[in-house]
Amino acid sequence: MSRINKIAEKAALANRKLLIPYLVAGDPNLETTSAIMHKLVGQGADIIELGIPFSDPSSDGPIIQRGVERALAKGTTLKQVLGLVAEFRKTDTNTGIVLMGYLNPIETMGYKAFAEAASSAGVDGVLTVDLPPMEADELNAMMRAVEVDTIFLVAPTTREERVASITEHCSGYLYYVSLKGVTGAALTDFGSVTTNINKLRERTQLPIVIGFGIKDAESAAAMGRLADGVIIGSALVEKIALLADQVEHESELLTDTIRVISEAREALDKLV
């Protein structure tokens, strides 16, 4: 049983919704990312999605694009991101870590080398935004061999007949994209989310979490009511953007930076 499975199972038993913050590794630098990760755990994050910076983030909106640009300006590489995870694992073996990014850095490192490095660093799952299931067999096999979960997206546009191939390839949790658009866009159509999540429930036993467009306690609660958890990315990255390059990691400042996460935790806990 993978760490993500255990986290999800434990949460389900405790009637607790999964809270999954997303941030870009290396934004504004790797040391600060590490400090924020530990802070997020302290505020109730169950799993952390760590963005691998890529020069051409074509599924991301302007807020995350700029986060990626800041990380790349520091020369952040996939190897360093894996190093960051290994460092994090020295003091935290409970929190799930999912790497989210685009295929080219992984392809450049080589699937096998990446799978081995991810596993030994303590990565629990990988979500490759531009790698749909029909192209994913080879990478999936490598990740499964080292017991790292492979997470896939379902979008409002996903056709019924594709869902089976997605759930077949997916492990850990299923990521439902709440809207048509890019990360950080405004979430408006709650009705279609409800319908689509209910349909997905009939098709899979996987935990379902919702991401894109969740920006505060209110939207976290609204989406959390429908799913097993929520992902908050742009609203956090927007706050990280305000940090100076050199911040005092123990300061109140970081608490303020991640306030959206602690507020979301509170709102989610009130649901049950």
Binding site: D56, S58, G61, G181
Partner: protein
Amino acid sequence: MAKPKESAAAVDPAVFDGPDASGHFGPYGGVFVGETLIAAVEELAEVYEELSADKNFWTEYDSELKHYVGRPSPLYFAERLTDSAGGAKIYLKREDLNHTGAHKVNNTIGQALLAKHMGKTRIIAETGAGQHGVASATVAAKLGLECHVYMGAEDIIRQAPNVYRMKLLGANVISVESGSRTLKDAMNEALRDWATNVDNTYYIIGTVAGPHPYPKLVRDFQCVIGREAREQSLDQIGKLPDALVACVGGGSNAIGLFHPFLKDESVTMYGVEAGGHGLATGEHAAPLSSGCSPGVLHGNRTYLMSDEAGQVLETHSISAGLDYPGVGPEHSWLKDMKRVNYVDATDEEAMKAFHQLTRLEGIIPALESSHAVAYAMKLAKTLPREKNIVINLSGRGDKDIETVAKIEGIKL
């Protein structure tokens, strides 16, 4: 200059029949986009498969090409250019004479017909040099569709006349400020727009790249170039040409010329990439001829200029239309199959060829096409007079005169 290789021997011609049903040319191509866009590309693939099997669709397309674009474009024997090179005879396939001034319109006409059949009311496009943006804005005006063109902020400066042309045609030109602010970033932004407005929007990709089915359908629309050139060669020369030369950025004009000849073993082919300041300097846009590895960008797997960490590199070329770090996946396959020789011409060589063709033939070529002219002249020198070379003169150079004047220190 690369030594002319033997043309493809011992290769099963069926390897040129790609892509397969899932959009692969060998290991290249495929569909690498976010989940939100999967349904849209699958729908497009289904619609295209249906329509491309329908004679009426091609009748409508051919009629537009004849009456609106002005096809067929001539195959012109460039006698003074031939004499100047001092070797094989050089012919120009005059895509510069098309309506809007380049080969791009062959594709936008076809895709606009697809958009119309799919009931889409809004068109988006990315553009580098502005030629594809102009061709998209043109067909949008003709069909009464809303049109938004994404263009890198750098390119907007480099290609001011085309920006104004698009605006005159009623298109909304959106300046892209992210990343390297050139063609690749314009394409990222167009993909984001498409994901957001996928219900009513048709994305006209301008080259043989992007996710399947784009590399296939753009190729099919551009193949009119090669089909005509083949027929014209038989008619005017009495045989097939010995060599074909075309510039390669994304590679749509090149694939359009090459594809109908792929199974003609006697025809040697040269795809000329942008050598920029020279391959050794690293400042170029030549993923095939500079020895890059394959990677994944903008929906497909192909040879790609990226660094050791997998970040896509910024490219350099004097011509905005070739300034792209990837290349259409079918070209990657043709490179591996050794069917096409991929070579380069530098900024300087392209500039020299630009002037030569202008002065010797009274034809001002686009800077993109000037790369093909430069290489073809070198190639011609190595071949006897009885050999025949066809260059795809993919566009005219009116859009480039400011760039050329600026480089040469002339104030207009």
